[in-house]
């Protein structure tokens, strides 16, 4: 933790002022902010300074800038986390699987813990939708097409019953980082689609039986598969 949003430098002051403005006025995502001209007048700074501050806030997805239209309150998504983690993983240990393994472990712990809770909250309708996704995976697999998007969708759908908006975003962020780094490393192999399909189906089956321990176990097995793939990929054996 360095400074940020607690800084004495001029520019950070502007950032905090904009954030404070949003908070004070109770603005929600998508609400319009004052124009750059208004901000430079209200804060008594130049337009360049305003723009630099807005750019920084844009990088944090706290504001959204639309060219020729205006500045708006952002979605405060986890995009910054994705960018930061991707960079971090790519830059540290350039060809060491360790950095990716760390992300994978966090995902694993999260999903294994969450799936237990899901077993008691998931609805039959959601299970049907999950089943449908798995079926589509199966079709894609038989057609020889990879299905990263379906995989993502599955894991996102899995946790809606928790009513926790942060969970799918966080998992989505880790998923995206993993995918991006894997892509940058070249090993895009999505091997053995039938195995992947089966493991996803096992999870749905356990959930349908309201078997928390079984679901957790199925999820653990699923992650063993991903881990094996990652390690193999980094070693260039696959």
């Amino acid at each position: 933790m360095r400074r940020m949003s607690a800084g004495e430098p001029r520019n950070n002051r502007i950032q905090r002022a904009v954030v404070q403005l949003i908070l004070d006025r109770g603005l929600g995502p998508g609400a319009p902010l004052p124009t750059e001209a208004e901000l430079m007048e209200d804060l008594g700074v130049s337009r360049n300074s305003v723009r630099e501050a807005l750019k920084a806030l844009q990088a944090l997805d706290i504001v959204e800038i639309r060219h020729g239209y205006g500045t708006y309150v952002g979605q405060a998504s986890l995009t910054p986390l994705v960018d930061g983690l991707t960079f971090r993983t790519l830059t540290r240990h350039a060809d060491d699987p360790g950095a990716l393994a760390e992300i994978l472990q966090v995902r694993e712990v999260l999903e294994e813990g969450l799936i237990r809770r899901v077993a008691t909250t998931v609805t039959e309708a959601e299970l049907d939708r999950l089943e449908a996704v798995v079926t589509r995976m199966e079709l894609a697999g038989r057609a020889g097409r990879p299905f990263p998007e379906l995989d993502h969708q599955f894991h996102e759908l899995l946790y809606v019953s928790l009513g926790n908006a942060l969970v799918p975003q966080l998992l989505g962020a880790f998923w995206t980082v993993f995918r991006r780094v894997a892509g940058a490393r070249g090993w895009t192999a999505d091997p053995a689609p039938d195995v992947t399909v089966r493991r996803h189906r096992d999870i749905v089956t356990a959930l349908r039986a309201r078997d928390a321990a079984g679901a957790q176990q199925a999820m653990a097995v699923h992650f063993r598969g991903i881990e094996a793939r990652a390690v193999r990929g980094s070693w260039g054996v696959g």
Copy 2:
């Protein structure tokens, strides 16, 4: 996921170019970057554009700007996540405990899952250090002083044996967000220090016995306490 690091706009192009430069040259945290003047020449853009791009990357802790000295590769910490989550929590549901509860649930799931693994990896030396922290908590509690920093330290120390650098940073981020939002809400109450101390000690005791299930249970109890505190605080009953 919006755009960011995949954009066609001029400025994002500059950001990506800087990141690419770091990646290509294999620069690590603390390594010096070209000066703004060099960047504006290499990329064929104005200094303002360079500065806006660097400001954005600074917000992501991908670069670090030192006034009068130069620009350096940043630590790629989770500071952006802290800022983003704090903003998100403060802006959405302004006086609803739900947003904080989401963060708490993620922390809970993470720590409960991690503590099981720790039970098999933690060393005696680490347990001694944890014990020492708890003792200091006890002393602070008896003196009537709150000990948020010791609490943080305890949870950070807990997971070093996993060898996963991401875990403590992630938990630290959630912890900081929680604390900051709680502070902004006014309910700084840290009630019943003796109970908190006992719960921490229970965790250490279970770990010392290599009792994974017991440690997880102790952690769960610990979080029940935090949750109760949070809800009470937001209702203004405490």
